[in-house]
């Protein structure tokens, strides 16, 4: 039974990684940049929920909605102020460093407002735990909600990209910016929309993450952010199903590594598996291999 419970926990953690990785992978696909500040948007979302519930006394669902709106605006503002001017910069490293700067900025704003102490985050999930197999297997409510939201988000996002005009525009921009502009697509608007969706997803991921692991400090988002980035690369960066597969595999590996091998080595195991995957298949599991020509 413990195996199944580890597996379920792994899928749950993996779902959170997948939701974060979606934001990474979409932004990477369209702007070809690693958004290092993505993890800190997660942290911002979690703080907003905490303030909305304990400070403003909003019901949990409304608080989550506030966080989603807040993070969406935050994402669009970051994109237009810090990233857009560098979109056509001579070196792609410039925007990477700016993203690191934004990450420091968000962490330090949170540090100033909320202090360095870890705050306890009360779960916002109203679903009771599910007891199976005569009490030998308990699945927490948070786990159920996390996995369920991941599925809903995946289906919703796939439909959005396949069926809607904006989604098709996103695909076009990620394939060829210049050609998309010639076809009358508003490239800057599409990039902003991508950041908005990614940041909204980050807010949801933040709430789910902090409900499952109820502690919150200004650096909460950094490590999950990096792990989700690993998940995105794992599955093939730029690919949406890849982010799902990468995220869930990563979550399972991490929980199993913690449970069966060594809790101190869990991170090393995750990174080790990533290295092996990339050496065998250098563009990730579902990544496209583009042949370079002279």
């Amino acid at each position: 039974m413990s195996f199944i419970s580890y597996l379920v926990n792994g899928i749950s953690l993996g779902s959170v990684y997948a939701i974060i990785a979606l934001g990474y992978t979409m932004v990477y696909g369209i702007a070809k940049m690693l958004n290092f500040a993505h993890g800190d948007v997660i942290m911002a979302g979690a703080y907003v929920v905490m303030v909305a519930i304990s400070g403003a006394g909003l019901p949990p669902l409304a608080a989550v909605l506030v966080a989603v709106v807040f993070c969406t605006i935050l994402g669009v503002v970051i994109e237009s102020v810090a990233y857009r001017p560098l979109l056509n910069a001579a070196s792609s490293l410039a925007v990477l460093i700016t993203a690191i700067g934004v990450s420091y900025l968000l962490q330090n704003i949170a540090l100033l407002i909320f202090g360095a102490n870890t705050k306890s985050f009360s779960s916002v999930v109203p679903v009771p735990a599910l007891v199976l197999a005569g009490g030998r297997l308990t699945i927490a409510g948070e786990t159920i909600v996390t996995i369920f939201s991941c599925i809903v988000i995946m289906i919703g996002l796939s439909l959005f990209i396949k069926k809607s005009k904006a989604g098709q525009a996103m695909l076009a921009v990620s394939e060829d910016k210049g050609a998309a502009q010639l076809m009358g697509i508003n490239v800057n608007g599409t990039i902003a929309l991508t950041f908005a969706i990614g940041s909204a997803l980050a807010a949801i991921a933040g709430v789910l993450l902090c409900s499952a692991y109820p502690s919150l400090n200004p650096y909460t988002g950094a490590m999950p952010g990096i792990k989700a980035f690993v998940a995105a690369v794992f599955g093939g960066i730029g690919s949406i199903p890849g982010a799902l597969i990468g995220g869930i595999l990563l979550g399972i590996i991490e929980i199993f590594g913690k449970a069966y091998i060594s809790s101190q080595m869990a991170d090393a195991i995750v990174f080790g598996v990533l290295i092996i995957v990339l050496i065998v298949k250098p563009t990730g599991i579902l990544g496209k291999n583009i042949q370079e020509k002279v």
């Binding site: 990477y28 690693l34 290092f36 810090a82 001017p85 560098l86 056509n88 910069a89 001579a90 070196s91 490293l93 410039a94 925007v95 990477l96 460093i97 700016t98 690191i100 700067g101 934004v102 420091y104 900025l105 330090n108 704003i109 540090l111 100033l112 990096i226 980035f229 690993v230 690369v233 960066i237 060594s262 101190q264 080595m265 991170d267 090393a268 990174f271 080790g272 990533l274 290295i275 990339l278 050496i279 250098p282 563009t283 990730g284 370079e292 020509k293 002279v294």
Partner: protein
């Protein structure tokens, strides 16, 4: 007279060496006249390590053209192997100069070997994939160091990955590497002077490499891999060469760093990806491929938070804003255009005024 005979690159290299020496002399004078606070004095040796890290990473990022986010991992290897060596031999080799020299060689060699071992699989990857794998290797190195326990008694060395008790040491045995508690009691042999000498040595190695035949081959690979391959350049060899030299120089920085601390521990702060990113910030802000820029950026960005100390809580906030604004100003196409316009106007004005004066 001799300056005229020198080629342009030699001149530029000389300026770089001179800059380091002048900065060293200015700092020494300031310290001597008591104008440097003890806090800043404590930063001088780590600053030397950061400068070497920045210059060596610039070799990977600027000259080889690959983004590495695992530089702190190599520093970690150099730091721990050399601290281990120094602690073991602190009683047998009493001459601190010789011991430090051997520690340097060991740290550089260990990091260099790690660079080759990691480089062989990693350098097959490209761009952001390479970045994330180097980040992963850096984290793994940090993680391994944190679970490593090494003790020594009359029977020799004992290893464990669990805790210091499971080493099974005899009564007189000593724990040398104590897992998360790291290495305590490394002799504090690093001085600012040694640090500056090592910066000069690093610069000498890197600048000479860049202007050698190998260096041109490495830059050819950076500019166009396929074209370089088609003129017969051995891609793997030269990539590996640049990567492992960069790694072993990071190891040297680790040796300086380790021999300046009473207790050496591997934390996210000093050997995690945050550190690698900080070094990358030095490199990019100073100018990719520009060694002098790396040195200046490392100095400014290390001192900035300390100089802003009076602002206490706001200092890192200001640091972040300064970083973003500097990046936008340096790299945004619009800002570059604006700067070009402004500077050409300025130049025209200057010309006019000199004409009028004449």
């Amino acid at each position: 007279m001799t300056m005229k005979k020198m080629s342009k690159t030699t001149k530029s290299n000389m300026i770089t060496y001179l800059m380091v020496i002048v900065i060293f002399l200015v700092v020494e004078i300031l310290v001597f006249t008591g104008n440097v606070s003890s806090l800043l004095q404590g930063l001088l040796v780590p600053l030397c390590a950061y400068i070497i890290l920045a210059v060596s990473l610039n070799l990977t990022v600027g000259i080889l053209g690959e983004l590495s986010l695992g530089h702190a991992g190599f520093m970690c290897v150099g730091a721990f192997t050399s601290a281990f060596f120094s602690k073991c031999t602190v009683d047998t080799i009493t001459a601190s100069g010789l011991r430090y020299f051997l520690a340097l060689l060991i740290g550089a060699a260990a990091a260099g070997i790690c660079g080759i071992l990691i480089g062989i699989p990693v350098l097959r990857l490209k761009g952001d994939y390479l970045a994330i794998v180097t980040l992963a290797f850096g984290e793994i190195i940090k993680n391994i160091v944190n679970i490593l326990f090494i003790g020594r008694d009359s029977n020799g060395f004992h290893f464990s990955t669990k805790d210091s008790l499971s080493l099974g040491l005899e009564d007189g045995g000593k724990v040398i590497v104590n897992g998360p508690q790291g290495i305590t009691g490394t002799p504090k042999d690093s001085t600012f002077f040694i640090g500056v000498v090592l910066i000069l040595v690093t610069l000498f190695i890197v600048l000479n490499l860049i202007h050698s035949r190998s260096g041109r081959a490495i830059m050819a690979i950076r500019d166009n891999r396929i074209a370089a391959e088609s003129v017969g350049i051995n891609i793997t060899k030269y990539k590996l060469m640049a990567f492992s030299i960069s790694a072993s120089l990071a190891g040297v920085a680790g040796v300086i760093y380790a021999h300046n601390l009473a207790t050496l521990t591997a934390q996210p702060k000093n050997f995690g990806y945050n550190m690698s990113i900080m070094i990358l910030v030095f490199v990019v802000l100073g100018g990719i491929g520009n060694m002098r820029g790396s040195i200046i950026a490392a100095i400014i960005l290390t001192l900035l938070p300390e100089l802003l100390r009076s602002l206490s809580d706001y200092r890192m906030l200001i640091y972040a804003v300064v970083l973003i604004v500097m990046m936008l100003f340096n790299w945004s196409p619009k800002a570059i255009e604006w700067r070009g316009k402004y500077s050409s106007k300025f130049r025209r004005k200057n010309k006019k005024s000199t004409k009028e004066a004449a």
